[in-house]
């Protein structure tokens, strides 16, 4: 199991003044998996993620990413991770190609901007500014910038929040493609359907504590074993299925 572990978090604590945002959580992320951190707003998802991304100081605990300690080797960690921030903007007045060139410089890597854009299906938007993109395109571009340094681990903070059903599905496909190349992905979400479809394992966090960690299947089975039943048996289709059936699965970016 140890050989398979790429991220180790041990007894991580983060206090803001008097508020305890993260109260001593521990978990591992395995190489090549999609690990989901689930939880309601304010549960401590983003704080945890940002500490792992070297963007926030921890109060105590230990975080090891691909053998590098967050205390000593921040710069080594930065080189091997890709980071998508929740609701982040990009440098003003630049087009997508120029933004990719900027990040290539920041990571000291050579890239072919058009190929990077092709990866996220945005080559037609090469000369567009970030703020001119639709919600789904923005998120796809954000993910594109996380891949510039060919990272081992990609962190995605609520990548599908605010997107329509078509754009969400489109993004899920993109995340699966990144995973298929062997990249480890850690994401946060509060959409359970998303976690169920995408994540190999999930950790549920509430009030700064991890409540449980397992595969979505095991968690569901465990709940059923306790004798849990949905109050109303689910119909064979959902309203979302109706919506997609009527409006199609094509993404509506334009």
């Amino acid at each position: 199991m140890v050989n398979n572990t790429i991220i180790q978090v041990k007894n991580l604590v983060k206090n803001y003044d008097k508020l305890e945002a993260v109260k001593g959580i521990s978990f591992d992320v395995h190489k090549g998996e999609i690990f989901g951190l689930l939880g309601p707003n304010g549960a401590g998802k983003t704080t945890t993620l940002e500490i792992m991304e070297t963007l926030r100081e921890k109060t105590s605990g230990e975080v090891i990413i691909d053998g590098f300690s967050i205390d000593k080797d921040q710069n080594e960690i930065k080189k091997i991770i890709g980071v998508q921030l929740q609701a982040a903007g990009y440098y003003p007045n630049l087009n997508l190609v120029e933004l990719i060139e900027l990040f290539s410089g920041l990571y000291n890597v050579e890239t072919n901007p058009m190929e990077m854009l092709k990866l996220v299906d945005l080559e037609e938007k090469a000369k567009a500014k970030f703020k001119e993109l639709s919600g789904g395109q923005k998120q796809r571009f954000s993910i594109c910038t996380t891949l510039i340094n060919d990272p081992k681990i990609v962190f995605l903070d609520e990548p599908t929040t605010g997107l329509d059903p078509q754009a969400r599905r489109n993004l899920w496909e993109l995340i699966k493609i990144i995973k298929a190349k062997g990249t480890t992905i850690m994401l946060t979400t509060h959409y359970m359907d998303e976690a169920e479809i995408l994540c190999d394992r999930v950790g549920i966090i509430d009030n700064g504590n991890i409540v449980t960690i397992d595969t979505p299947d095991n968690l569901i089975d465990d709940l059923i074993k306790t004798g849990f039943e949905r109050p109303k048996l689910l119909k064979l289709a959902s309203l979302e299925d109706v919506f997609l059936n009527l409006t199609g699965k094509e993404i509506r970016d334009e």
């Binding site: 963007l55 903007g89 630049l94 920041l106 990571y107 000291n108 340094n149 060919d150």
Partner: protein, 366 residues
């Protein structure tokens, strides 16, 4: 992953920011307007005033002696309009309104010497000063001619004319250049850092291996490059189209550029302070104007600070832009080099130390 094996170059990352920032600046209308268009408008306006249309309106007192060399000399000067027909009771109010720039009354005293009584107005201090200089020139010339000096008269004339050819543009352009540098330093930096902070662009930069200090240097460098580019254009347009004086040509130009770099570096500190104090972009203009506007008005950008009332002059004497303007004029017009204006630069650097020590305290990354 090969790239991870190479050593990471902060310089390369910094230059990527500089390049991105330059792209962004030239596409940002307000940066171009503040750095280039505003100063050029002022220069063009004043350039035309001092060119064809420049005229000093002078009233001649009705008791004045007109049969003397000084009067004749003034009369022959095309940029001076002498008027003997203005009623005495109107002269004062015309002076007050600045429609008249000066009044002269030339009298012969009991020894037969000429005495020029000159009255100028605060409503038109600049032209009053120029007129005063012209009179001085003529008087000096006359005095020398009468003193039977050994110096040939023609040579004296040449010397005097050369030394006094001080045009409006020679005063206005250095002031505009100084103000362009100040507003570039304050507005440009303050807006961009607040915007980068609020849109989490800086945070995203932090997730890459670049050091914080290189982000700052990279951004400052792009502003420096853009401001120097603006300065070159301002000086060239002034020189080519409005006869702005560059006493020693290219050497003077290079000295002006060096001084500009020093000044902008100091002024960037103001921008860092403003970006630290302002809570959001809307809070930038009031704070930034508080820094730039008083200097725009009081630092000798448009008129010499000697024209201000005496109680106000110490305020002018405290402002960094005053010293930049004075140093810039000494370099461009008097032919001083960067070492000759060490005193002005020293004061600028003292401001720099003060401002940057505040900036270090108030600057916010997040």
């Amino acid at each position: 992953m090969l790239s991870n094996l190479k050593t990471y170059s902060q310089l390369k990352a910094m230059l990527a920011i500089t390049k991105a920032s330059l792209h962004s600046i030239v596409r940002n209308p307000s940066a171009v307007v503040f750095n280039l268009v505003f100063p050029l408008i002022f220069i063009i306006v004043f350039g035309f005033i001092s060119g064809g249309g420049f005229r000093i309106d002078v009233a001649v007192d009705k008791n004045s002696d007109k049969e003397n060399a000084i009067y004749k000399s003034l009369e022959s000067n095309k940029s001076i309009k002498l008027n003997s027909n203005i009623p005495e009771e109107e002269i004062h109010s015309e002076l007050e309104k600045g429609r008249l720039d000066a009044v002269i009354n030339i009298q012969k005293n009991e020894n037969g010497n000429l005495v020029v009584n000159l009255k100028s107005t605060k409503a038109s201090p600049e032209r009053g000063n120029i007129f005063k200089m012209m009179i001085n020139e003529i008087v000096n010339k006359q005095n020398l001619a009468f003193s039977k000096s050994d110096i040939p008269v023609t040579e004296i004339k040449e010397e005097v004319v050369e030394g006094r050819k001080y045009k409006t543009i020679d005063f206005i352009l250095p002031g505009q250049l100084g103000f362009s540098l100040l507003s570039a330093g304050v507005f440009g930096t303050a807006f961009i850092f607040i915007s980068l902070r609020q849109t989490l662009v800086i945070k995203r930069f932090f997730a890459t291996p670049i050091n914080k200090s290189f982000i700052l240097i990279g951004e400052s460098l792009s502003r420096l490059i853009f401001s120097m580019f603006s300065a070159v254009i301002i000086i060239l347009i002034g020189n080519l189209f409005f006869g702005f004086t560059l006493v020693n040509g290219i050497v003077t130009f290079i000295n002006m550029m060096i001084l500009s770099v020093i000044a902008l570096t100091v002024f960037l500190g103001f921008g860092f302070v403003v970006s630290g104090i302002a809570k959001n972009e809307n809070a930038v203009p009031p704070i930034a104007n508080l820094i730039t506007l008083p200097q725009f008005l009081l630092a000798g950008t448009f008129f010499p600070i000697s024209n201000f009332p005496e109680w106000l002059q110490p305020v002018s004497r405290a402002l960094p832009l005053t010293y930049l303007n004075e140093a810039m004029r000494k370099i461009s017009f008097e032919g001083a080099n960067i070492f000759d204006v060490w005193y002005e630069i020293l004061i600028l650097l003292i401001w720099g130390v003060i401002i940057y020590s505040i900036a270090v305290k108030v600057f916010k990354w997040e």
